[in-house]
Structure formats: C-alpha cells, structure tokens
C-alpha cells in the first residue's frame, strides 16, 4: 500500500534521511520509534509530501508521489495526518473543523458532511462538543477532534506524528484508545511514537530509526524482547 524506495531528504547540507526502504501493507499498523533527531517525523511527512523528497520514490497505492504530474491534493485527501500539536483550526467550531474537508475537497453539502461527522464525533467520544471551539477543549480532546477531522475524509491510510507527545500524561490514554479502535477496524496506520506500550500492543511491526536510516525492524515481540542491533538495544535500555 505504501512503498518507499531509497528515500533521501536533505535540509540544505543537512541530510536527515539517508536512504529509507520500507513496505507497508494494507491494514498494517507500523510504529516508528527512535531517538529525537533520527528523522522519523521527516520520514512520516514525506509520505504525504509535507516535505519535498530530495531523491528516491514514495508510492502510495501505486501512485508515485515524486511524479511531478501527480495530483497531490487528491493523494492527501486519501492519506490522513494527525500532528503532535493537533493543528485544529481555532476560528472554526469542532463541527466545522471536521466538515471543511468533505465540503471543500469532496464538494459535499453541509448536511451530508455533518451526517459523516456525527458518528465520528461519537467514535472519539466527543458528541457533546460539536459546537465548541478548539480553545475550550483539553489537549486530549483536541487530538481526538483532529483524528475525527482526518477520518472525515475517509482516508485509506492514517499517519500519526507523535500524537500524544504534547499531552498531559493523564490525557494520553483516551487518544491511544481511539487509535487502538482504529487499528482494530483495519485502518492502515503509520505511527511515529514514544509510547512503547502502544507500539508493543497495537503495532504489527516496529521500525527503529536512527541517524536517518531504519536500523532495525521486526514484530514488536522480537524488537522489544530481543533486539539485534546494538543501537536498538541502547535506545530501548534508555526508554524502557
């Protein structure tokens, strides 16, 4: 579903990604872990071209994102993204945050879009917040709205960029619970995270990134239980 071939990304003279190869299958949940500065967020952002790719190929459902003729807006509407800092639109209500995509990108009527939004709000446990503005929500609630906003586009892939890193510890659980539900429903997910518990429990596969490459990848039991690469061992010994 996602194929990444020899992906390089540089910011000026600073090479952040030094040749990433990865294959993510439909309905797979892949967690990306690694120390900060290892390039894991950059890798994720290359998957919907929020970062321009320096060289290499990124194929989403067979379409090569590096093809200059590609309609990137169309691809992005099928690839949801959830950000560390939520990035809700503060001048819109929760409902408008969720429906703007379906209305403006898919050309739906407002009432149609709201029909999609209501069950999504229920799913993330925020049915009573439809008319609230983001500033009145807690961090965990904001992130759940952000997830609903992405889901409203009915994406086939969801990308999560450290979705719980900006949350107070007691709010992390609700967001992870929503993500776990999504995973169980068969959503294809790529999750950059520091939540090792989540990666172990929900991930089908874990990628360990360091210094701009994937150092090691495996099913969680083996990667956490018996890591082979010394860098992985060192990292896990610090965080677990």
């Amino acid at each position: 579903m996602i194929t990444v071939k020899d992906l390089h990304k540089s910011f000026g003279s600073n090479e952040v990604l030094k040749g990433i190869n990865a294959e993510i299958k439909e309905k797979e949940v892949v967690c990306v872990i690694g120390p900060s500065g290892s390039g894991k967020s950059t890798f994720l952002r290359c998957l919907n071209l929020l970062e321009e790719v320096t060289s290499g190929d990124v194929l989403i459902q067979g379409e090569n994102l590096t093809d200059p003729k590609i309609n990137i807006n169309d691809v992005r509407s099928r690839v949801g993204m959830v950000f560390q800092h939520f990035n809700l639109f503060p001048h819109m209500t929760v409902m408008d945050n969720i429906t703007i995509g379906p209305i403006k990108v898919k050309g739906m009527k407002k009432t149609e879009a709201e029909k999609i939004a209501h069950p999504l709000l229920e799913k993330v446990g925020l049915s009573d917040k439809a008319v609230a503005y983001p500033e009145s929500l807690s961090g965990g609630q904001k992130q759940r709205v952000a997830i609903a906003r992405s889901l409203a586009m009915e994406p086939s892939i969801m990308l999560f960029d450290e979705p719980t890193s900006a949350l107070d510890p007691e709010l992390v659980g609700d967001v992870l619970a929503v993500m776990k539900d999504l995973a169980q429903e068969g959503m294809t997910m790529v999750v950059v995270t520091h939540e090792m518990g989540f990666a172990r429990e929900v991930g089908d596969r874990v990628l360990f990134m360091d210094e701009g490459i994937i150092m090691e990848e495996d099913v969680p039991e083996r990667l956490f239980g018996n890591p082979q690469n010394p860098r992985t061992q060192e990292f896990l010994s610090k965080v677990l």
């Binding site: 929020l50 807006n73 992005r76 993204m81 639109f89 503060p90 703007i100 995509g101 992405s150 409203a152």
Partner: protein, 218 residues
C-alpha cells in the same frame, strides 16, 4: 445663549463640518483602495518568486522612505507635469492615501499572514485543500483578525495625513479651519475646533481598538 452662538468656536463649525465630510471621504475611499493594494503587495511580499517579491519590496520601501507630503505633491503636480493630464485634487488625495497606506498595509498583511503557525497550513493541505483554499478558509480568516488592530491604527494615521492635502487646497478639515481664520483672524478658536473635530473621530476609534485588541487577546 447668544454669547455661545456668536462665538467663533460656534461660527467656525459649518466650515469644519464641510471639511470633515471631505476628510472622511478621502480617508475611507483611500483606505479601501489602500487595503486592496496592501493585500496584493502583502501577498507579493510573501511570494517565492524573486521578481514579484522584488517589485513589492521596491514599492513598500519607496513609499515608506519618502514623506507623504512629497508624495501628494508628486501625484498632483509631478504627474500632471510629466503626462500633461490634470487630475482633480480629491482624486489626487485619494490616490495619495491609497498608495501611501497601501505600503504600510502590505506590511500589516504580510506580518499577519506570516504570523499564522505553519501547522495550520500543513493541516489544511493534509486534508486535501489546495494552496488557495487553505489560504482562503484557514490562514486568511485567522490573519485578518490579527490585522484589525494595526489596520485601525492605520486608519487614524491616514485620517490625520489628509490634513497635509491642505497644501494643494483640498477643502478638508484643516484647510477649512485655515479659511475661517483667514477671514476672521481668529486662529486660536478655529484651530482649537479643528483639533476637537479630529479628536472626535480618533479618540473613539482608539478606545474601540483597545477593546477589540483585548477581546482578540493579541
């Protein structure tokens, strides 16, 4: 009662009210055009194209680096000298306000758009909105709120700048006051009332802006 209606403070008023109408007309029309110019050049200043950015930068720097008095004389006398076409005083005044305020508003627009967190654009683009849609529905509405206080400030500045157009004999507020004391030699009373008339507009505007600012929390 008679000593009030006979005083020069009172008798200057018909002149000043006529002047105020022109002052407000020039300010409002000039600023509406100036906002359009400012939006265009403000976005041009954010452009990745070096040419577009360069043109906008030259405009902003030339206008901000020269006095508005020189600008009005340039528009009214300079341009008609060059082209042989005479434009009327009011038109010249409106153009002067538009061009002058346009440069400052360009910086207001640029600053406000630039101040919106890049995460907003990324979120908009990631749900599939185009660059233009993201600007129109996500960035601009947030940036516009931040523009309100500095735009109000610009309104006050431009309103006061119209007094400079008295040098080309535009019948605005200050010029009408001068006309009055030219006839009556009552400069103190006439100019006091001129200042009162400016304050009647500028003070409530400032109070209102402070309230808006507090509500916007900027």
């Amino acid at each position: 009662m008679e000593f009030i209606t006979e005083s020069h403070y009172f008798r200057v008023m018909p002149f000043l009210l006529e002047g105020l109408v022109w002052t407000l007309l020039i300010t409002f029309v000039g600023l509406i055009l100036g906002f359009i110019l400012g939006a265009i050049f403000g976005f041009a200043r954010l452009s990745k194209s070096k040419l577009i950015y360069g043109i906008a930068t030259v405009y902003v720097e030339v206008v901000r680096g020269t006095p508005i008095l020189a600008q009005i004389l340039f528009i009214y006398f300079g341009l008609s000298d060059l082209t042989g076409i005479n434009i009327d005083k009011i038109t010249a005044s409106i153009i002067a306000i538009a061009v002058n305020a346009g440069a400052y508003i360009a910086e207001i627009v640029r600053g406000a758009v630039y101040s919106i967190d890049t995460g907003q654009e990324e979120a908009g683009r990631s749900i599939g909105l185009t660059r233009n849609q993201t600007m129109r529905y996500i960035i601009w509405p947030q940036a516009f709120r931040r523009m309100i206080p500095p735009l109000g400030n610009q309104f006050v500045i431009s309103l006061k700048d119209t007094s400079l157009f008295s040098v080309i004999a535009v019948g605005e507020l200050l010029y009408m006051g001068q006309q009055y004391y030219g006839m009556t030699f009552q400069a103190f009373q006439a100019l006091t009332m001129v200042c009162v008339m400016y304050l009647v507009i500028t003070v409530p505007t400032a109070v209102y802006l402070r309230r808006v600012e507090r509500r916007l929390d900027v």
